[in-house]
């Protein structure tokens, strides 16, 4: 395995700050243990917390090569490059001489590794700088001692330490050994570079560290793992969530050339959490033989309690739930009185179906389970979840579970659930310890995802005689992710409600959010941007509907609802989550939301004259403590053909470390937003997913993507303020901006996604 061997080789070659096994005994505690009652936020509150001891993450070889262990999964957000930029910059290293290696899973040692929630740079920017600054200071101390000069006279520069007075210079490589023996400087003695001194941080167009490997086919993704002697498996899973195998006959499957073994996998014991779904595994000499063998299985299923799950019916259930009062989750003023006294009442209901993340690399993992140890090669967002599961499952200590983190061919939330790694391990165990690669076919992926929830959002507003909103009532009805942890959970969890439902920043005195019950009948899980998608679609569409009902400009009306620039405390919005962040550091800044609205509008030429059948739509949303606004331009043809010539997206995530990767995340978010708005739907009939592959579950292709996606970053150098997320916040405003543009272009209001052929016949 490239990745693993590489880590091992670096450990052997490197002398400073060592990656070698055993170095953890040297590790020091840099931060005092937290006082028990003190509430932690951000990365400190994540399982495993944050670590910043340079010896855990950095090594420098004799030739000066700096190796950085990256503890976040790379899934296309470019985190390996961005982490390399931060460390190279603060260390004063040359980026070209920095190697970035993927750390194996080990949360106790490395701190939190769960790559999810748009948190990587937000949480790790400061710890990475501490790591690099500490190492730089150790190198400086070593050089000063060698030259016998005061520490103040040396400084790090271009991968070496220089002494200004004498012009002497030593490369990092020459200093590494001595520096390694020095104590790690205490946190309060660290000196950081100033913003104006940054060489890499904030600089555009830094080449991706993996560019050459990716463009030559050498990049190793989870599905590419190759372990000597491995077999290959696919699993036939119960077609209905909660179902199980009644009986199966493997005789025909075993006759397929190359098939080695057919084994039953036990159904999960509730709560299902991230466990495999059970079923029948077919293990063979190659993936094709396994797939062919599976097609010859004769399996009888017991479909279980969700056998009648039907999305068409369930939509009606959700609509009925949203028609009635539900659990009150935010309540400002007196909404009922304000509605009763309003000059005008407007209401609308919005629907979004289930979605599948469908990363291009389907879930796949290779595992070897032998004599009290497990080793897994995989592409997961959360390797600690793999370790925890296998440790329990095979009753081995967690430090006997090794997870090699390979590149993810996309994640989007699907790969934060390690069910596929567990399946691989179960197969290896059944093969007596022979390594087994388990692969989801695309059909498996689309039919056994952790699906994005399905939702009905009902909104009602009361307007006074001047059109000013005086009352706002939002009912959000959607099955919760919490149901996989607590069967029967039927209210959105605080973290789901705080994704754009309760944290509505509008300056409306009477505002209530209700959450009627909604039972989950499939596995609901995280999908990039999560509940922000339905919430933002409904709210931002509704704002434009209100504007239209008043004959007002939608952008002006949106700004009026947002109100004057001000800081809103999370608690004032009944937001009990705030993406895990400290409310004091991350108030809702309506000024920043206004700013992205104005930026997107001006860049898009809001208000410009458009030809017949064209329209602009705008939407804005805060999520993952970042602010996004989108203006979409659409053309609706005489037969309802929809084209999207251009999208402008304005974004404020605070300071930007890697502008090119933030832009690429926004470009991707626009495409993914368009994909879910125009095409995305997973539907159920008789408990079964109706889509099987990319013909049924269509994704936006190059011909459906806007020819022009223009990204506009604002406040990019605000390094004195806490950072926001970048991976997910681009998605939520895309669908409502599109729907609003379609309305402007055609007069047709889209309230139900996907749009698909709803425009057919529209002039």
């Amino acid at each position: 395995m490239t990745n693993t061997t590489e880590v091992a080789n670096v450990a052997r070659r490197s002398v400073l700050l060592g990656l070698a096994a055993g170095t953890f005994v040297l590790s020091v505690r840099l931060s005092p243990p937290a006082v028990a009652q003190e509430k932690k936020y951000g990365g400190d509150a994540m399982p495993g917390g944050l670590k910043d001891d340079p010896r855990l993450f950095l090594s420098i070889a004799d030739d000066g090569t700096v190796s950085l262990l990256c503890i976040r999964a790379e899934m296309g957000q470019g985190i390996r490059t961005s982490f390399g930029m931060v460390v190279a910059d603060e260390l004063e290293a040359e980026l070209g001489r920095v190697k970035v290696l993927q750390a194996p899973g080990d949360q106790a040692r490395f701190g939190n590794q769960d790559t999810d929630g748009s948190r990587s740079m937000r949480h790790h920017f400061e710890p990475l700088r501490r790591i690099a600054a500490a190492a730089r200071q150790m190198l400086e101390q070593e050089a000063a001692a060698r030259w016998g000069v005061p520490l103040t006279e040396v400084k790090a520069e271009n991968h070496g330490i220089v002494h200004a007075g004498s012009g002497r210079r030593l490369d990092f490589g020459a200093l590494a050994k001595g520096a390694a023996a020095r104590p790690v400087p205490a946190r309060d003695t660290l000196v950081f570079k100033g913003v104006s001194q940054f060489r890499y941080i904030g600089k555009d167009n830094v080449p991706l560290i993996d560019n050459l490997d990716i463009t030559t086919g050498k990049a190793v993704f989870g599905i590419d793992a190759r372990v000597d002697g491995m077999a290959y498996a696919v699993v036939a899973r119960p077609p209905v969530f909660g179902g199980k195998v009644k009986s199966f006959d493997a005789a025909k499957a075993m006759k397929v050339p190359g098939v080695l073994k057919v084994v039953a996998i036990e159904p999960p014991t509730p709560p299902v959490v991230f466990q495999p779904l059970g079923g029948v595994a077919v293990i063979a000499e190659n993936t094709f033989a396994a797939i062919k063998g599976r097609s010859q299985l004769d399996t009888q299923w017991d479909d279980g309690p969700n056998a009648s799950y039907d999305s068409v019916q369930y939509r009606k259930t959700l609509e009925a739930a949203a028609a009635k009062p539900g659990k009150v989750v935010r309540n400002d003023g007196d909404v009922d009185a304000a509605l009763a006294g309003a000059a005008k009442r407007v209401s609308a209901e919005y629907y979004l179906p289930h979605l599948a993340q469908a990363p291009m690399e389907p879930p796949s993992a290779t595992a070897r389970v032998t004599n009290g140890a497990c080793e897994v090669w995989c592409s997961v967002q959360n390797s600690e979840a793999v370790r925890t599961d296998l440790s329990k499952r095979f009753n081995v200590p967690i430090d006997k579970v090794t997870v090699h983190n390979l590149l993810l061919g996309g994640g989007f939330g699907r790969k934060s659930k390690p069910d596929f790694a567990s399946e691989a391990a179960i197969c290896s165990h059944a093969m007596g310890g022979r390594p087994v690669k388990l692969t989801f076919t695309r059909e498996d992926d689309l039919q056994h995802s952790f699906f994005h929830t399905v939702s009905v959002e009902r909104l009602e507003a009361g307007l006074d005689g001047d059109g000013k909103a005086v009352a706002w009532l939002h009912r959000t009805a959607a099955p919760t992710i919490a149901a996989i942890f607590a069967p029967g959970a039927n209210h959105e969890a605080p973290f789901e409600l705080a994704m754009g439902a309760v944290d509505t920043p509008f300056a409306i005195p009477n505002l209530r959010v209700e959450n009627p019950e909604a039972a989950a009948h499939t596995r609901v899980g995280w999908f990039r941007s999560v509940s922000n998608i339905p919430h933002a679609f409904a709210i931002q569409s509704f704002v434009a509907e209100l504007a239209a009902s008043l004959g007002r400009d939608p952008k002006d009306y949106l700004l009026e609802l947002i109100g004057p620039p001000r800081l809103i405390d999370a608690a004032a919005m009944s937001d009990a989550w705030l993406y895990g962040e400290d409310p004091k550091r991350y108030p809702f800044d309506t000024g920043r939301l206004r700013q992205v609205v104005e930026k997107a509008a001006s860049e898009a030429g809001w208000g410009r004259k458009l030809s017949q059948g064209r329209g602009l739509g705008i939407a804005a949303h805060r999520s993952f403590v970042s602010y996004t606004a989108v203006v979409a331009e659409v053309a609706v043809g005489p037969k309802g053909e929809l084209t999207i010539p251009r999208v402008d997206i304005a974004f404020d995530c605070g300071a930007v470390v890697n502008p090119d990767r933030v832009r690429s995340q926004l470009e991707g978010a626009v495409v993914q937003g368009i994909s879910l708005a125009t095409l995305g739907e997973i539907s159920f009939k008789n408990g079964r997913v109706e889509q099987a592959n990319f013909d049924g579950y269509e994704l936006t292709r190059i011909d459906g993507a806007p020819p022009e996606i223009r990204t506009h970053l604002v406040n990019t150098t605000a390094f004195d303020k806490p950072l926001g997320g970048a991976g997910e916040p681009g998605v939520p405003p895309v669908a409502p901006a599109l729907a609003n543009a379609i309305f402007a272009a055609s007069g047709k209001r889209i309230r139900s996604l996907p749009i698909r052929d709803q425009l057919a016949g529209k002039a």
Binding site: K292, M360, L408, G410, G668
Partner: protein, 150 residues
């Protein structure tokens, strides 16, 4: 027994002749640059060249390519310096990168047949290749950049 070449090297296979070239390459030959995305000719991740033509390797049975020459991403250039590969890097096209070997193989084939493609020709040629990360604008720009050099 099927005999063919992959990146110029002779191969022979006497297993199940229905084995798709994709799985032969990945599992048997151990060349993992060619990716699995759908197995049904719907995504383009598995694109390789057979006798100079871009094909979906998930749809080509090894038993049917006797005597033919297969080029995969690993054999596109010795050092990764094909103009298309270079353009891909210059524009930082990739996000996760998973679809990109298929995209590159498809783009190379387009530029071979149509050295100066119009925007519409690019869309037509590339619409069989899905990128879930949404790198399409950069793919289009990279093809244009490469077309000036290829």
């Amino acid at each position: 027994m099927s005999k063919f070449t992959v990146n110029g090297k002779a191969q022979s296979f006497d297993g199940d002749p229905e084995t798709p070239l994709l799985w032969y390459l990945r599992d048997i030959a151990g060349m993992t640059g060619t990716k699995f995305g759908c197995g049904r000719a719907l995504c383009g991740a598995c694109t390789v060249h057979v006798d100079g033509t871009a094909v979906r390797s998930c749809q080509v049975q090894v038993g049917d390519i006797d005597g033919q020459a297969v080029i995969t991403i690993e054999g596109l250039s010795a050092d990764g310096m094909h103009p298309v590969q270079r353009a891909w890097r210059e524009l930082n096209v990739a996000q996760c990168g998973y679809c990109q070997t298929g995209q590159i193989m498809q783009a190379v084939s387009l530029l071979k047949d149509t050295p100066k493609p119009t925007d519409q020709q690019i869309l037509d040629a590339m619409s069989g290749n899905i990128c879930r990360c949404g790198t399409y604008p950069r793919i289009r720009d990279a093809i244009k950049r490469a077309s000036g050099r290829a």
